[in-house]
Amino acid sequence: MNNKLKLVVLFVLSFALTILDTSFFSFVMIKEAQIISTYLVLVIFAIKADNRFFEFSTFCAVMFSVFSSLPVWLILVNFCLLPSLFYYFRQKFLPEPSVFSSFLYFVSAAFFFELFLLIYVDQLDAYGATIMGSFVLINAIAGSLIYLLQKHYQKLIRKPEIKL
């Protein structure tokens, strides 16, 4: 796949995920928390240390600026700065993430994402903590599942290549 086509694919992916968050996951609330699929896929890009991570992160930030009411600074923190830190840690300290360590990545990624949101809505209290708990749990489970599925299908795709 050439570079331009890859960029188009990433753009479409970020667009599709944002629409999915806006119109589907925002209606499926579990214990007052929702899945943010765009962010989870972005964390997967960071965990995999994908060389297209920064482009995808940028597309996600642009999509959220259009479709969300979050202020631009918060979008930049949550969709550019925070995942970039995970990308950095992954490259420096954890070359091969296991299932457990990837779960920890998702837990901490969801924790910080929600923490900044709670700071923005000024809700750092007991009620905010309960929302934080369910948000972290739901998103860490969902993120790990997506990550495992992605790994599984990647293996399936690569298998025939090895045989050849």
Partner: protein, 258 residues
């Protein structure tokens, strides 16, 4: 981090910070217009999934709710007969005084919720009616006769509504009986009516309605019922929690009041 990546990232950040706020309205109009169909399909699927998911968790509560509702129905039937009498009396009095029917000329635009903010606790919803249908910014939005929000942005085919529970929502409201006025603010932990003068006696369960002082929202729209007192006697003003009349998490169709 590669130098190229840093350049891309920083240039996009500069672009976002400088240019996006300038073009956001136009960009959003096109983006929401382009995605209306997709959002309608996905939101209806999301609502159905949510209903199925919650049904399994709610079975144990349904029996209890059923008993409570049966009791309420009996009470409401009694109230209803009283209201019919009062309505008749009211109509006669209005005729005598020459008043026009208050809500006769109100335009109501029915709209379906097709999306929410990706961060759902920001409490913004997107509806499938916009400027082309006569919606304008700051219009009041009601559901089952109760206020649920206000139009924040009106695009050509869609509109963004700030729910009353949003952190960014402030509405001038008052107690229906005592006419004690205050400012209704939203937040993650619920609605609070603040800045009420200390000399008013606040009754739990009283109706809270719009005061109409801000101009865009007319007076007398039901918002909810007064809950627990949130302030102490030492505070300068009183504050009380408000239970919304409508469950805002289950909204599907709303009406925009012109």
């Amino acid at each position: 981090m590669k130098r190229n990546n840093l350049i891309i990232l920083s240039s996009i950040i500069i672009f976002l910070l400088i240019f996006l706020p300038m073009f956001s309205k136009k960009l959003r109009t096109h983006a929401f217009g382009f995605t209306t169909g997709m959002q309608e399909f996905l939101s209806s699927t999301g609502i159905r999934s949510n209903r199925t998911f919650h049904f399994f968790f709610a079975v144990s509560d349904i029996k209890k709710q059923n008993e409570e509702l049966s009791k309420k129905i009996t009470e409401l039937q009694v109230d209803s007969s009283k209201i019919s009498e009062l309505e008749y009396e009211n109509m006669l009095l209005k005729k005598e005084l020459g008043f026009a029917e208050a809500n006769k000329d109100l335009d109501m635009i029915p709209a379906r919720i097709i999306g929410r903010d990706p961060i759902s606790f920001l409490d913004y919803v997107i509806v499938d009616k916009g400027k082309d249908d006569g919606v304008s910014e700051k219009d009041a939005v009601v559901s089952n006769g109760a206020l649920i929000g206000q139009v924040k942005e009106a695009f050509s085919k869609t509109s963004k509504i700030t729910l009353i529970t949003s952190k960014n929502s402030t509405i001038l409201a008052m107690f229906q009986n005592s006419r004690a006025q205050g400012i209704l603010r939203g937040g993650l932990s619920g609605l609070v009516l603040e800045d009420i003068a200390q000399d008013f006696d606040l009754k739990i369960g009283s109706n809270i309605i719009t005061s109409g002082l801000e101009g865009e929202i007319s007076q007398g729209i039901l918002i909810g019922r007064a809950g627990l007192l949130k302030s102490s006697s030492a505070d300068l003003f009183k504050a009380i929690s408000v239970e919304p009349a409508v469950d805002l998490s289950k909204l599907e169709v709303v009406f925009i009041r012109k």
